[in-house]
Amino acid sequence: MDIITGVVCPFCGCLCDDLEVAVEGNKIVSVKNGCAYSLTKYLNYQKERLSEAVVRKGEEQVPVELDEAVRKAAQILVDATYPVLYGWSSTGCETQHLGIELAEELSGAIDNTSTVCHGPTVEAFQELGHPSCTLGQVKNRADVIIYWGSNPLQSHLRHLSRYTLGAEGRWRKGRDDRTLVVVDVRKTYTARVADYFIQVEPNMDFELMSALRMALKHEEIEQDTVAGVSVEDVEELAEVLRGCEFGALFYGLGLTMSSGKNRNLDAAISLVTDLNKWTKFVMMPMRGHFNVNGANTVFLWQTGYPFAVDFSHGYPRYNPGVTSVIDILSRDESDAALVVSSDPVANFPRKATESLLRNPMIVVDPHKTVTTEKAEVVIPSAFVGIECEGTAYRMDSVPLKLKKVVEPPSSCPADEEILRRVLKEVRRLKGGN
């Protein structure tokens, strides 16, 4: 039995890098240090697995050789006037880079899953910038931690123990040295372990942040309650935040998916900027998919924009609300779709899904999903971080190398290899060779 140490977990944006994976005869038999999600992923990744490339012929998806699937995929993309290329967060940066190249070649649009998670975050960051740091800094220094619209005890299970509440850092030794604030609509599991739980009314985060900013400046709030929170509680929280030595605001989809969207993030950036007049304060989105931050990062350095990039004019354009995938689909503009490691048929609102289903879809994914069931072409891929290597960006934008711990099935190449072949075939077809 081989023990592979220092394995980076390809589940969430924490990218825990201390896993020990035991492998016997190309089979993972145990995983040490991982959270419950990590263990479940490593020990069940073969379930509902795609095993062969298929192409739709009539009502049926018929198994074909990889070459034929690649040829068909390239033909669909070349025949399309405005293909949309979507997914990209559950794979490595190397594949994301090829996706951008393909989108440019096809004069299509490319969007990643942040468009339905932290898109509003990156929009606000693009406009205003944001003060941040690495998770190591939080672990060593932060004495006040806020989780706003985020429930890491359900979503990022080791975040509290590795980096925040219970982490043993250089200057903060553990729970007694830290104050935890949770702001949420629900009394979540994370709220139950908080020192201060602020229960905000749905869609009222912007108002609460505005009130907090007023309280920080000792301005009078002419109401008894704001967003369902008493003004006394708002003022008390303002004092806690002002009085800390190093504060960190972590936030989740409670802010990005609620009313206000990117404006909630503008308010959060303003709040953190204000706090830096009195103390040191940083902010960081709780990223979901293990490499969604990599998708934003690669898109940004390749095109100048972090998501929702359109190449229809021959150069990259970015206009969320227009060039974002939900809006493109809602207007029925695309005429083909390439989906890489994502399940948009399940994840998009009904109107967008119905439009997507009118597009011939090519799906590259390790798993069966409702999206693969509806596709014209399905190409099974290896699991990045389990069966092949790749680079991923942690939620604090630290890049880490994902390891290969077992061999993939011979019919499941790395998606990087698949994309490279599709791109080559697209260029051949366009060149008329």
Binding site: Y37, V116, G254, P320, S324, E354
Partner: protein, 111 residues
């Protein structure tokens, strides 16, 4: 956890078709834990299973995990951001006596 067991697994279906409610609201609607409710908006409706919230929600608020079921009723407008309104949306809830919770494949066939 269901997600990692597969998108067609019972665990995932169970998790993504659960509607966490405040007990007061359940009493008002005469819905017992485990019974079905129909969630409706102007965009559609979906049948899910009501339970007493594991993580408390205030009266008037329900929580349903992200997935193909709730996506039948969320608001697709992005308000110029690219992001649909997945949270904080107004819904109607009524006890469901006739329909059943559909599987993921059936959902797509029906859409």
């Amino acid at each position: 956890m269901g997600l990692e067991l597969g998108k067609f697994s019972d665990a995932y279906t169970r998790s993504a078709t659960t509607c966490e409610m405040n007990p007061e609201d359940m009493e008002k609607l005469n819905v017992k834990p485990g019974e079905l409710v129909r969630i409706s908006t102007e965009h559609g409706s979906v049948t899910v299973r009501a339970i007493k919230a594991l993580e408390e929600v205030p009266p008037g608020v329900v929580f349903i995990p992200y997935g193909p079921w709730i996506n039948l009723v969320v608001r697709p407008e992005t308000h110029g951001t690219g992001m649909p309104s997945f949270k904080g949306i107004e819904v109607d809830i009524e006890p469901e006596k006739v329909s059943r919770v559909l599987g993921a494949k059936d959902l797509v066939e029906h859409s």
